[in-house]
Symmetry: C2
């Protein structure tokens, strides 16, 4: 049973209430978008996700994509849904109005993305990849390329892809081999094989615009010799009409654990005509300028599955009758009670619930920084927002997707044996979400990015916005007498101290021996993520407490916020102390065994 | 790439060296089985698992079982393999020689089971279920039933099943509805629907003997009104020849997340002739007397997948070239180095490795207690062994299967994008192992069994063998001056103290309010399991240290043992401190939210 209603009230809480004082809001670029308008967009998005995409989630998984004679067919219903999606303007929500976008904040866009991913993760891949390609083109493309390709990409009429991985080159793009040669007319000829190309071919759009990483003949070896090329599936003439077929072919579809409605292709570029995007040899740089956003989006995919898993598990736990409450028999007429009465079931439901609420809050906070980093007119705010984004990107990507897998597994466990049956729809969440821990940089790569690049960059400055926000909140609440808030403040303070200790340890040891930092990286990322979530929960509880004290008419909502914060504080946050101990253990036992002895 | 070589050296270490002084050995019943003979059996079992079963693992998953006109077909090759398996005597390894078994220790049998599960978890279900049925019959069946059914079940000529679950009754068997009526000839007529019946129908054996839980007309409600019936697929005549078809039919196969080579059937019993096993209304008791063994076997399934995941991930990590070592460039001629050089990859490999070694050790220790509980002639040893078994059963079942899922996920992560592709063979591990956290009692049920039954039973006596063993080891090593052993001793001592504190907390709070114990149950089980693993590792390191000091010619093996122990000690064991904090948080935040607010 897959059920889903967009959690609009919690989204509005994260969007309007939780971070009102973070300094990333009130951007002139978004003046015209009133809170009411943003809420209305969320409501419409909810209908689209619930009514258009959710009904295709199971059928898309069962049917999968098909490969017939070089043509990829998406599952039944996807094409119609994609047309409706584009007609509704959902493809162009946050894009530049200059090219037909609606110019809405990325903060809002990320909440809409969450809904898409909850309802149908496979479907979300198609607009998601196109969005990624438009970002790269907007930032690095020539005016000519932008004018020619962006309007149709942004409207969704054409699809986009990112062609990075090769059979022997995944995390290590420096060794990729696809070649590009300059042609006499200023274009290039691209040849090589790419694998794991999401939406590499599909039947949703009349053309597909590939962004392909390749090497020019004079390229230096390694990552500094990679260039980015725009390679359309069909060439486009002067009047933007579809012309001849270009040498970019899907060779086969991968048979995957999940996300079976999303076409993952092996692509063959065979003397395909391409156009250079950005500077020669700077292709990886171009790809990485949009990687922050893409990685944030992958984190949001994890969040989407957490929410879907939570809702589906909750619906089942309220309905499935099994056993009796340990605290008496509230329903004595029934042979058994809903399993939600059992503490261990509630432990699972509350865990999923706080993962959803916490990740939503942290995702919105990070997206606010993304918007401020692009649109703030205050250089100090812009710098701070950019630093914060840089720090949070690997955390959001890895933490949310790890918790996504955990939540999907908890949903299966809540269903018991029924969760293992394909018809239940919940094992699909586990299969679908599993790739999010891998693509756009494995979570191990995220952890290395965090400790190896983001921490030491700018003399450690990236940490400041997070640490400063936590310190300010703790300071604000230092005189708080409400016992629950006070107790959570003390817990967060202790966890924050542990994170500072770990930070010192990782930076000190890592400066002497990078392997020390690398061996600590995954534990450190988890710690930093949990402390950031703990901050969001404490802030949320403090706001809820004030709202209740001042006589809100939504007391149930705010009381539930305090319960979620307490559960996170009492049952999840303590994990940071285990992470700190593991970090202090150092690299020795990790690295001691000779490779041949494994 | 699924690779598997049975870890014979480590199995011999667990079997002969690690627990030589635990008091559960030297059983007269097994006098004839010399260590050399046991080792020879392991070597033959390894060949069987590697050569006969492993090659059918991927094909069995891809093909799955088929249901045609009421007949279940197992995947190609399973029938032939099953014949070989039975001819080799593997079905009868630990059964009573009186009925054709070989009477080998369960300790050995569990190591063989580990190999089966590593090589082909789906295949292992068929002999596994039969083994379960023989245990129930051996213990509770009348002499007549035993003589009629046991020899063919034990030889594997006939298969067995356990029919417990109904659509509305899983964890809560008290509400099951299948009916049995006495017939005039002393037999019974059984009618009802059972679901999730592993091996409910198959084409491997000429007959299938179902053990079915059902209610007699005069049965009291709840778990005290359940009786067990033997219901053959084909009736068996006086000369043990197959006769008429009985009313026990597979209605359909479940389409499952994994274990697709194992037939999971919905069964319809339609006035089927059955024979009462054991006493009327005592069927659940009869089922549970063999449940300890079955749950231990499910734990071993988790271990089997851990080992398979570890080996497959290790093979890939040695071969896949990506990036360069942070500690220099040991292979300067290559464009990249094997990913095993990267600390975060090693973290994953070492985690799987210590899960495998630790669970193997703890599984062997528990199986030794099982053997001693059945065969010791010393009443004190028998009681202690029985207590230890009772305590460890839920821990082994839940911990090993949770770690099994985690290890399978780590194997996927080690493979990166390739791990998400079905062809890699590693995502199958994750799908296959997922059910082990659910069947034979969900891991949540195991945790409740631990805190609600096993801890308080006999005035808390069940804990003593574990706690006593840990105390003795710490005492033995109290003067140890070797720094690594000393440091691990101190860590285990601290973790043990945390477990004692948690035990007091759970028993105290649980005595006043059972929901407190239930809310703490999963954290407590994990803590107890990790401390027990920590004990095994410290013991193993201490033995290894002595062997090295006395000039062994297997220094590499013992040095690796110390490295594993350190990794577990430094990076995994610290999780118990997070569990303790979570337990101390109490039930409040878990139970506070109104069910309607979820």
């Amino acid at each position: 049973m897959q059920v889903y209603k967009a959690p609009l009230r919690d989204m509005r809480f994260a969007l309007h209430e939780l971070f009102a004082d973070d300094g990333y809001g009130n951007l002139a670029a978004f003046d015209e978008f009133t809170p009411d308008l943003l809420d209305a967009v969320l409501e419409e998005a909810a209908k689209m996700a619930q009514d258009l995409l959710l009904p295709l989630n199971i059928s898309g998984d069962v049917e999968g994509c098909q490969f017939d004679n070089g043509v990829v067919r998406t599952p039944a219903g996807f094409k119609h849904a994609y047309e409706q999606f584009c007609q509704g303007g959902w493809a162009a929500l946050a894009n530049d109005p200059q090219w037909g976008g609606q110019g809405l904040p990325e903060t809002l866009n990320k909440l809409v993305e969450e809904m898409l991913c909850s309802a149908n993760l496979s479907f979300s891949a198609y607009p998601g990849l196109t969005h990624g390609a438009t970002l790269a083109l907007e930032t690095h493309g020539s005016d000519e390329l932008k004018a020619k390709y962006l309007p149709n990409l942004i409207s969704g009429k054409w699809g986009g892809t990112m062609c990075l991985t090769e059979p022997h080159a995944g995390s290590d793009l420096g060794i990729l081999r696809t070649q590009a040669k300059a042609d006499s007319d200023g274009t290039y000829r691209v040849s090589g094989t790419k694998i794991f190309i999401s939406a590499g071919d599909q039947d949703l759009t009349e053309n597909i615009i590939h962004l392909v990483l390749a090497r020019l003949p004079d390229a230096p070896p390694g990552v500094k010799g990679i260039s980015m090329f725009l390679v359309p599936k069909y060439l486009v003439d002067e009047e933007n009409r579809i012309g001849a077929r270009n040498g970019a072919f899907a060779m086969r579809l991968e048979h995957k654990m999940g996300m079976r409605g999303a076409a993952t292709c092996e692509m063959r570029f065979d003397d395909a005509r391409g156009w250079l995007v950005g500077e020669a040899h700077r292709g990886l740089f171009a790809m990485f300028t949009m990687m922050n956003q893409e990685r944030l989006s992958v984190g949001i995919q994890g969040l989407g599955i957490i929410e879907a898993a939570y809702q589906s598990a909750t619906a089942y736990a309220k309905e499935r009758l099994q056993g009796r409450s340990l605290s008496g028999t509230p329903q004595p007429g029934q042979p058994a009670e809903p399993i939600i009465v059992h503490p261990d079931v509630r432990r699972m439901l509350m865990t999923m619930r706080v993962y959803a609420e916490g990740c939503r809050a942290l995702g919105v906070w990070t997206a606010r920084a993304l918007d401020a980093s692009e649109h703030s007119t205050d250089p100090e705010v812009k710098e701070r927002a950019t630093d914060f984004m840089a720090l949070m990107t690997p955390i959001v990507k890895a933490l949310f997707t790890d918790l996504g897998s955990e939540a999907a597994s908890l949903a299966i466990q809540t269903y018991g044996g029924h969760g293992y049956i394909v018809d239940s729809g919940v094992e699909q969440f586990a299969r679908d979400v599993r790739i999010t821990q891998i693509y756009e940089g494995t979570n191990g790569i995220q952890a290395l990015d965090l400790v190896g690049r983001k921490l030491p960059a700018n003399g450690g400055r990236n940490l400041r916005p997070l640490f400063h926000a936590i310190s300010c909140l703790l300071e604000d609440l230092s005189q708080e007498t409400e016992p629950q808030i006070g107790s959570m403040r003390d817990s967060l303070s202790e966890a924050f101290q542990a994170l500072r200790t770990a930070t010192d340890e990782v930076m000190r040891a890592g400066a002497q021996d990078p392997e020390e930092a690398a061996a600590a990286a995954s534990d450190y990322l988890r710690m930093a993520g949990l402390v950031a979530l703990g901050f969001c929960f404490l802030k949320s509880a403090a706001i809820a407490h004030k709202r209740i004290a001042s006589g809100t008419d939504e007391a149930d909502f705010y009381k539930a916020k305090i319960i979620s914060a307490r559960f996170f504080n009492d049952r999840i946050l303590p994990q940071v102390f285990a992470n700190l101990r593991a970090i202090k253990g150092g690299k020795q036992s990790t690295m001691a065994l000779d490779a041949a002895a494994f």
